[in-house]
């Protein structure tokens, strides 16, 4: 589904940082991957490279047979197939919850109003916010906002969902409600790449865990392997720090 081969990414502004160094991953359809690692390890950059919010300097990224880095690729078409959920939600503050989910369906997918409305209602039900559909995002709690953001991404019927630290900006009591929605998605067979420190989530639903440090993939394995017999020193240190 997602085939990443030897990508490199170096930021030059404000000073040179090697964000990704020779990263290769292979993700199968329906897999749930949790990417973790200390801050500055390049995990967010890796995720943002997948839908070309950042352009990798070299290497190859193939998603569902489409070459992401090929300049001839219609990037908008590709992004519609790859949903993304951000740490800070990034809902559109000038549109109601309902219209946040409606907009891209009509503009990008060119769905009829009726079809888009049906889809929106269905998704609001799925993420459990039917009663807030006419409210503006600023009047919602963080957990509710993030669930709307997930619904907004799902409205495009993506083949892959990317989550960039979806629970990091949330108050502790709201993390559960967002993770529940993500677990439902995982059970439904959605291919998911989740950058997160939620080890409970990783243990419960991840098929594989990728550990990154200093821009490189250090260790890849099943949660079982990752949490009980990590092989690398760096992984052990990281796990000892967060538990």
């Amino acid at each position: 589904m997602i085939d990443v081969r030897n990508i490199y990414k170096t930021f030059t502004q404000p000073h040179e940082v090697k964000a990704l160094v020779d990263v290769s991953t292979k993700i199968e359809p329906g897999e749930v991957i949790v990417v973790c690692g200390p801050s500055g390890s390049g995990k967010s950059t890796y995720l943002r490279c997948l839908n070309r919010l950042e352009t990798a300097d070299s290497g190859q990224i193939i998603i569902d047979g489409i070459d992401v880095l090929d300049p001839k690729t219609n990037i908008n078409q590709l992004r519609a197939e790859v949903g993304m959920v951000f740490q800070s939600f990034n809902l559109f503050p000038h549109k109601t919850v309902f219209n946040n989910i409606m907009l891209a369906q009509q503009v990008v997918r060119k769905r009829s109003k009726q079809k888009a409305q049906d889809k929106t209602m269905e998704l609001l039900e799925k993420v459990g916010i039917t009663d807030k559909s006419e409210v503006f995002p600023d009047n919602l709690s963080g957990g509710q906002q993030q669930r709307v953001a997930i619904a907004r991404a799902l409205a495009m019927d993506p083949k892959v969902m990317l989550f960039d630290e979806p629970t990091s900006a949330l108050d502790p009591e709201m993390i559960g409600e967002v993770l529940d929605v993500m677990k439902t998605l995982a059970r439904e067979g959605m291919t998911m790449v989740v950058v997160s420190h939620e080890m409970g989530f990783a243990r419960e639903v991840a098929d594989r865990v990728i550990f990154m440090d200093k821009g490189a993939v250090v260790e890849v394995g099943t949660p079982e392997h990752f949490f009980t017999h990590p092989t690398h020193e760096r992984t052990k240190l990281f796990l000892s720090q967060i538990f």
Partner: protein
């Protein structure tokens, strides 16, 4: 009202608050009083009663005959009357209001004889000027907004042609006085454009349109900067969110960035267009009879500069205050509830 009471609470004693309110009105009356006193000292005779004719006045309208002959018939139909004059070479009819007829049937009429006299309300100089100022400002505002949005989008574009052209435009306009720009528009560009138009068989553009062009170009440069600041004030993450859903750059601009930016730039935009209304007062220099020029003409005719200039200032205030009220209402309407 809430604000007022909050202000009042800042004072320990409520009486102190009202004393300061009193001080305000006292100073205001002293200011007006001394102005009046000074005007008395130079023996200026205030004649406010002469002012109304510069707003509206009754004009005598004479209907005169163009041929010589005899009044053949006067047919009165409700408020209209038709006077028919039969001459050697044929007959002519004149439509006049019923009560104004000054001739009778079978009167002999020479060319130029008065058939009827009636009075009609006409707009005075100041109202004509106000109308021109309003027309100039509205048209220039519309063009200013169009230029500003296109300019703002070009300014944030990564295309060097668009970006540099916009920067050059902004610097050029902001770096020279509006008065000079107006003169260039009328005497330089105006001559060139009108000559070109004449070459290709089109009519001339009037001074009015060069006035509109100079004002819109001038305001457009400032609006461009305001729009740019508005677009840049919307956080990059909004673009990312829109683009990650598969929207193109222009879709993201249209649906996500510009609507949010517009709300934010409304207050500075209002200030810019209030300036534009006031700047239109310079257009008298290219013989557009806007409010200031009309006021100057009225002063020449009446020799009452105090009343007329004060009235002109009040009329400008009516325009600018209406605009600023309208924008405030718009802001409230656009605010996210």
């Amino acid at each position: 009202m809430l604000k007022k009471s909050q202000n009042r609470r800042q004072f320990n004693r409520p009486t102190a608050y009202y004393i300061w309110v009193g001080v305000f009105f006292l100073f205001l009356s002293i200011l007006i009083g001394s102005f009046y006193y000074a005007s008395q000292k130079i023996e200026y005779i205030w004649r406010w009663n002469r002012l109304p004719i510069y707003f509206v006045y009754k004009d005598d309208i004479e209907i005169t005959s163009e041929i010589d002959g005899e009044v053949e018939a006067i047919v009165v139909k409700e408020k209209e009357a038709t006077i028919t004059i039969k001459g050697m070479g044929g007959s002519e009819s004149y439509q006049v209001p019923a009560g104004s007829i000054g001739v009778e049937e079978s009167d002999l009429i020479m060319p130029g004889d008065t058939l009827a006299v009636y009075q009609k309300w006409k707009p005075g100089l100041l109202i004509i000027g106000l109308w021109f100022t309003l027309k100039l400002s509205v048209i220039a505002t519309i063009f200013g907004i169009i230029i500003g949005i296109i300019g703002g989008l070009s300014r944030v574009s990564s295309n060097p042609a668009l970006k540099w052209f916009t920067i050059a435009y902004i610097e050029l306009i902001r770096g020279s006085p509006l008065m000079v720009q107006i003169l260039i528009w009328y005497f330089v560009l105006g001559t060139l454009i009108n000559d070109l138009l004449a070459t290709y068989g089109f009519g001339r553009l009037s001074a009015f349109w060069y006035g509109v062009a100079s004002l819109s170009c001038f305001a457009g440069a400032y609006v461009t900067e305001i729009v740019r600041a508005g677009i840049q004030s919307i956080h990059r993450t909004q673009t990312e969110a829109a683009r990650s859903l598969g929207m193109s750059y222009s879709q993201a601009m249209l649906h996500i960035i510009l609507p949010q930016a517009m709300r934010r730039i409304l207050p500075p935009l209002a200030g810019q267009f209030i300036s534009l209304i006031k700047d239109s007062s310079l257009l008298g220099i290219i013989a557009i009879r806007e409010l200031t020029k009309a006021a100057r003409e009225a002063v020449t005719a009446s020799l009452q500069p105090f009343e007329i200039y004060l009235a002109a200032a009040a009329l400008y205030l009516v325009l600018t205050f209406t605009l600023s009220m309208y924008v405030q209402r718009l802001e409230k309407k656009m605010a996210i509830v």
